[in-house]
C-alpha cells in the first residue's frame, strides 16, 4: 500500500492525477482526508517548481482609469501588476506576517525605535539595465512622503520624518518610535523605481520577476520574464497575461472553460457549484478583513456599556459564518485582530451567542423599546441578510431590533461613521498597530465606533515604540480586551479570500497578508503540462 501511495503522490505531483482523484484513491486505501491532503502537498512541493508556460489570470477590479504609477494604485488588478514588475524593500512572511528581507537585506533599529538603518541589496538590476542604488530607494520613499504625489501610502509615510542615504544603507528617522516600520515599508505602493519614479512614474520599470510587455488599462496586461531577476525562487512561468473580467459569471465561465488559470473574488453563493468541476480547485485563505456591526460609544443609547454587551451576546456568530460566508470565514471575537496578525493574543475567551446573558445585560441597561440598525447591500456582501439573521437571534434574547435599509449610494458618507448603529466592513492592515490606529485611536478620523479612551491611546502609543516582543504582546492583549468588552464593535466574522485555480496551477501560497497570495500569485505559482 505504501508504494502505491507513493506512486499516487508522484502521479499527482506531475499533474497526471487530479487532486480530487488522488484524494479519492487515497481514501479508498483507508487514508483520512487531512492525511491525504498533507501527503499530496508535501509530494507536490518535493517535485519542485516547473519552469515555463504562459499563465493567464482573470481578475476582477480593473478599470480603464488604472495606471502603472505605484503611488496611485488602488485596484486589485494594479496590485497584482505591481507585484509582478516591482519589489518593495521588505516583504511580509505569508503565514507569520513577520517582515522578511527583499530589496533591503537587513535592518536594525535604535533602542527607542526612532532611527532605523536598512542595508540595501547590491547587484540588483532594474528592467532598463541600470543597477539599483541607495539613491533610488531614498528618492522613492521621498516621493511617497510628498503630498503632491497623491500616494496611497501617504498615510504610512506621513509618520516618517527623514530618509537619507548612508553608504550602502538608508537611514530613516521617525519623530516617534515605531517598532513596525519594516512591515510598513512592505506596503505594496512602496515599489522601488529608478530615480524614485519622479521623472516617469508610469514607466513600469522595477526590479520584479516580470517586465511589463503591454498595458491596456482595464482590458489586458501582459508580462514577460525578467531574465536578470535577482531572485531564483520566484517567477517560474515564462509569460503572464492578465485579463480584466469584472463580471463574476464571466470570470467563472472563463475558468471553467480553461481560458484562464486563476480567478479572484469567487462569489460565496456559487463557490460550491464551482467546486464540483473536476479540474478546478478553490483556494481560500483566512484573512484579516471583517464584517462588522458598529455602535457609537458616545451616543445614546449605545453609551451604555450594558446595552453594548447585550447586543454583543445577542449575535449568533456561527450562523453568520455558515449563512453569510457559506463557511468561508471564521468567527470573530469583537476585537479587530485574528490569528493571522503577528503577536495575536491567543488566550482571550471566545464570545458566543448567549441569549440569557444578552437578556441580563439588556435589562441591566434599562433600555426600553427597540434598537435601530441601519444597513445596506453595499456595507458588505449579504449585509441585509446578516441584519435579518441578527434580528432573529436578538429576538430570542428579548431584544427587538428595527432594521432600516439605507440606499447604497451615499452609504459611506451619510450612514457609516455618522449614524450610531450600522453595518460595515474593514479590510485588514499589515500590523495590529495600524488596525488600532486607523479605527480605535481617539483622534482617528475613521474611529467609527467613537471609542474615546485615553488609557487605550496611551497603551497604543507605548506598544508602537516597544521593541520587546513579549511586552508588546501583553500590551496588545490588554488593548484587545478593552475593545472586546467595552468597545462599540460587534465583530461576528472574518471573511476568507476566495480564489479558484485550474489543476494546471501548482504551488499556490496561502498568504494572510492580502488577497491573491498577497498579490504575488503570478510570481509564486508554476504550471504543469
Amino acid at each position: 500500500m505504501d508504494s502505491y501511495l507513493k506512486y499516487l503522490s508522484r502521479e499527482a505531483a506531475f499533474g497526471r492525477l487530479g487532486r480530487r482523484e488522488f484524494l479519492g484513491r487515497a481514501a479508498a486505501l483507508g487514508l483520512t482526508l487531512p492525511a491525504a491532503t498533507t501527503l499530496l502537498s508535501s509530494s507536490l512541493l518535493a517535485a519542485g517548481p516547473q519552469k515555463g508556460g504562459h499563465l493567464k489570470l482573470g481578475l476582477e477590479g480593473g478599470a480603464s482609469t488604472d495606471v502603472l504609477d505605484p503611488a496611485k494604485c488602488t485596484s486589485q488588478v494594479c496590485f497584482v501588476v505591481m507585484r509582478n514588475w516591482g519589489d518593495t524593500l521588505i516583504e511580509a512572511h505569508p503565514t507569520s506576517g513577520e517582515p522578511v528581507p527583499a530589496l533591503a537585506e537587513s535592518w536594525e533599529a535604535s533602542p527607542d525605535a526612532k532611527v532605523w538603518t536598512f542595508k540595501i541589496r547590491k547587484g540588483v538590476q532594474f528592467h532598463n539595465g541600470k543597477e539599483m542604488t541607495v539613491d533610488d530607494v531614498v528618492a522613492t520613499l521621498k516621493r511617497h512622503s510628498d503630498e503632491a504625489s497623491q500616494s496611497g501610502a501617504l498615510g504610512i509615510m506621513k509618520s516618517v520624518g527623514e530618509v537619507k542615504a548612508d553608504g550602502d544603507s538608508i537611514v530613516v528617522s521617525l519623530p516617534e518610535g515605531n517598532a513596525d516600520l519594516p512591515l510598513l515599508l512592505s506596503d505594496y505602493h512602496l515599489v522601488i523605481q529608478p530615480g524614485g519614479g519622479v521623472d516617469d512614474p508610469n514607466a513600469g520599470i522595477g526590479t520584479g520577476p516580470y517586465k511589463v510587455a503591454s498595458f491596456e488599462p482595464g482590458v489586458r496586461i501582459t508580462f514577460e520574464k525578467n531574465p536578470n531577476d535577482w531572485r531564483s525562487d520566484r517567477g517560474y512561468v515564462d509569460s503572464v497575461e492578465l485579463v480584466v473580467i469584472n463580471d463574476a459569471t464571466a470570470r467563472t465561465a472563463a475558468l471553467s472553460s480553461g481560458q484562464v488559470h486563476f480567478i479572484n473574488r469567487v462569489d460565496p453563493k456559487t463557490v460550491d457549484l464551482l467546486k464540483r468541476a473536476p479540474h478546478i480547485a478553490i483556494e481560500n485563505t483566512s484573512a484579516r478583513g471583517h464584517y462588522v456591526f458598529i455602535m457609537h460609544c458616545d451616543k445614546e443609547p449605545f453609551s451604555n456599556n450594558d446595552l453594548r454587551l447585550a447586543l454583543k451576546y445577542a449575535m449568533d456568530r456561527e450562523t453568520m459564518v455558515e449563512k453569510i460566508l457559506r463557511g468561508y470565514g471564521k468567527v470573530g471575537n469583537d476585537f479587530p485582530i485574528n490569528e493571522t496578525y503577528a503577536l495575536f493574543p491567543r488566550d482571550i475567551e471566545q464570545r458566543s451567542y448567549d441569549p440569557d446573558k444578552a437578556a441580563f445585560h439588556f435589562k441591566k441597561s434599562g433600555h426600553s423599546g427597540s434598537v435601530l440598525l441601519r444597513t445596506s447591500e453595499v456595507a458588505f456582501p449579504g449585509a441585509v441578510d446578516a441584519a435579518v439573521l441578527y434580528q432573529e437571534s436578538a429576538k430570542k434574547a428579548g431584544i427587538e431590533i428595527e432594521i432600516k435599509r439605507e440606499p447604497g449610494d451615499g452609504y459611506w458618507s451619510n450612514v457609516w461613521n455618522a449614524q450610531p448603529f450600522c453595518t460595515s466592513y474593514w479590510g485588514g492592515r499589515p500590523t495590529q498597530d495600524q488596525m488600532y490606529t486607523t479605527a480605535y485611536y481617539s483622534k482617528a478620523d475613521w474611529n467609527d465606533t467613537k471609542f474615546l479612551r485615553p488609557d487605550f491611546d496611551k497603551l497604543l502609543l507605548e506598544a508602537r515604540a516597544e521593541l520587546d516582543q513579549s511586552k508588546r504582546e501583553s500590551m496588545y492583549r490588554e488593548m484587545a480586551i478593552m475593545v472586546r468588552d467595552e468597545g462599540g464593535l460587534i465583530l461576528p466574522m472574518f471573511n476568507d479570500f476566495i480564489n479558484a485555480v485550474t489543476n494546471k496551477v501548482q504551488g499556490y501560497v496561502h498568504d494572510v497578508g492580502n488577497d491573491m497570495s498577497n498579490g504575488y500569485i503570478a510570481t509564486r505559482v508554476w504550471l504543469t503540462a
Binding site: 480603464s64 482609469t65 501617504l154 473580467i245 464571466a250 465561465a253 481560458q259
Partner: protein, 369 residues
C-alpha cells in the same frame, strides 16, 4: 407597433408617425411641419434655397438642429456629473483622501473654480476637437476613444451585417407564410429572444458554446496585435447575442410594414394578375414599406453602438460603454463628456439618416405641397 393596420391610406401616415416617435425632440416634428415652420420666417435667401432644393435645405436644417442638440447634451452631461455626490478628487482618492490631497487635486485640475468657467473652457477645447486628458490616467482622451470606438464599431458592424439582412429576409418570409407554421415559428423564436434579457442570452451562449462546447474563445477580449481572424473569432459570441437581441424588433417591424401594404388595392391587383407572392412582396410591397423599416433599422443600429454596455461587461469586450462607465465611477468629466457626445452624435446621425432616407423613399414626402 406590430399591429397590422388595415386602411392603406392611413397606413403610411400611421407608420410615419410611429417612425418619428422615438427619434428625440427635433425629428419628432413631422418633416413637413418643421419645414413649413422655417419657411414662414422672413428669410429671403433661405426660402429661395428651400424652394429650389428642398432636400438639401432639409439636410442643412437637420444638421443645424443636431449641433444644437449635441450642445444641449453636453450641458446635461455636465450638470449630471456636477449633481453626482462627491467630485473627482474625493472619489478618486477614496479611502486615502486627506483634505490636503483633495485640495491638491482640485487645484491641479482647476476644480476649485466655478462650474460655468470650467464648462466654457471645456467647450472651447471641444469645439477645436480637443477633448483634453483623462483626469484619472492622464492619457489623451481622443487616443483612448479612438481605440475603444474602433472596437465598438467593429462589433456593431458585424452584428449589423448579420442581423439586418436576416431580419428583413425573415420578415418577408413571415409575410409570405403569414399565419402559417413558418410565420408562427419565426415570431415565437424572435419574441423569445427579445424577451430574454441580453445578459441572460449571453450567459446561455457562454455556457453551451464556450464552456461546454469549447468551440470559441472566451472571454472575448480584443487587444492590440490581434489578427483580423482572431478578432472575428473573439466577437462571435457577443455578436450572436446582439443579433438575437435586435433581430426580433426589426423582423416584426418589417413584417408589420409589409403586411400593411399587402392589404392595399394595387397588391390585390398584382395578385389577381397571377404574380407569385414572393415576387409581389419583394418587388411591389417592400419598396412602399421602406420608410418604417429604415427607421427601425436605424434605431437598432444606434442601439448596437450606444446600448451594448451590458454585453460588453458579460463578454469582457473592451468597447466604449465600459470605458464610459469606468469614467463615470470616478467622475472623470473629460472622458464622460467625450463618450456622451459621441454616443449622442451616433444616435442623432443615424436617426437623421433614417429620416432623410424615409423621405427619399416616399415621393409624397419628397415633394411636400
Amino acid at each position: 407597433m406590430t399591429a397590422d393596420r388595415g386602411l392603406p391610406g392611413a397606413g403610411i401616415e400611421q407608420l410615419e408617425g410611429m417612425a418619428a416617435g422615438p427619434l428625440g425632440p427635433p425629428p419628432a416634428n413631422p418633416p413637413t411641419a418643421a419645414a413649413a415652420g422655417l419657411a414662414a420666417r422672413p428669410l429671403g435667401s433661405w426660402a429661395r434655397f428651400r424652394h429650389h432644393m428642398p432636400l438639401a435645405a432639409l439636410i442643412v436644417q437637420r444638421l443645424g438642429l443636431s449641433v444644437v442638440l449635441l450642445w444641449a447634451v453636453s450641458v446635461v452631461i455636465f450638470l449630471g456629473i456636477e449633481a453626482l455626490p462627491g467630485d473627482f478628487a474625493q472619489t478618486y482618492l477614496g479611502q486615502s483622501a486627506t483634505p490636503q490631497a483633495v485640495a491638491n487635486i482640485r487645484a491641479e485640475l482647476g476644480l476649485d473654480r466655478p462650474a460655468v468657467t470650467r464648462y466654457v473652457e471645456w467647450l472651447g477645447g471641444a469645439l477645436q476637437f480637443d477633448f483634453g486628458k483623462s483626469w484619472a490616467s492622464g492619457a489623451s482622451v481622443t487616443q483612448q476613444i479612438a481605440l475603444r470606438l474602433g472596437n465598438t464599431l467593429f462589433l456593431a458592424f458585424w452584428a449589423a451585417l448579420v442581423s439586418v439582412p436576416l431580419a428583413v429576409g425573415l420578415g418577408m418570409l413571415a409575410v409570405h407564410y403569414r399565419n402559417r407554421l413558418p410565420d408562427r415559428l419565426i415570431n415565437v423564436v424572435s419574441l423569445g429572444a427579445i424577451s430574454l434579457p441580453e445578459f441572460f442570452v449571453g450567459y446561455i451562449l457562454i455556457l453551451f458554446i464556450a464552456v461546454q462546447g469549447g468551440w470559441v474563445t472566451f472571454p472575448s477580449t480584443v487587444y492590440a496585435g490581434m489578427s483580423f481572424g482572431q478578432r472575428l473569432e473573439a466577437i462571435v459570441l457577443p455578436g450572436a447575442t446582439l443579433v438575437l437581441v435586435v433581430l426580433a424588433h426589426m423582423m416584426r417591424m418589417t413584417r408589420a410594414a409589409i403586411l400593411n401594404v399587402m392589404s392595399s388595392a394595387y397588391i390585390e391587383t398584382a395578385e389577381l394578375k397571377g404574380l407569385d407572392t414572393l415576387r409581389i412582396i419583394a418587388r411591389h410591397a417592400a419598396p412602399n414599406a421602406l420608410a418604417p423599416i429604415i427607421t427601425v433599422v436605424a434605431l437598432n443600429l444606434a442601439y448596437l453602438v450606444v446600448g451594448v454596455v451590458v454585453v460588453e461587461v458579460v463578454f469582457v469586450y473592451p468597447g466604449m460603454g465600459q470605458y464610459m462607465v469606468d469614467a463615470v465611477t470616478v467622475r472623470d468629466m473629460p472622458v464622460v463628456q467625450a463618450c456622451g457626445l459621441i454616443f449622442a452624435a451616433v444616435y442623432i446621425l443615424l436617426n437623421m439618416t433614417a429620416d432623410i432616407l424615409s423621405i427619399l423613399a416616399n415621393p409624397r414626402l419628397r415633394h411636400p405641397r
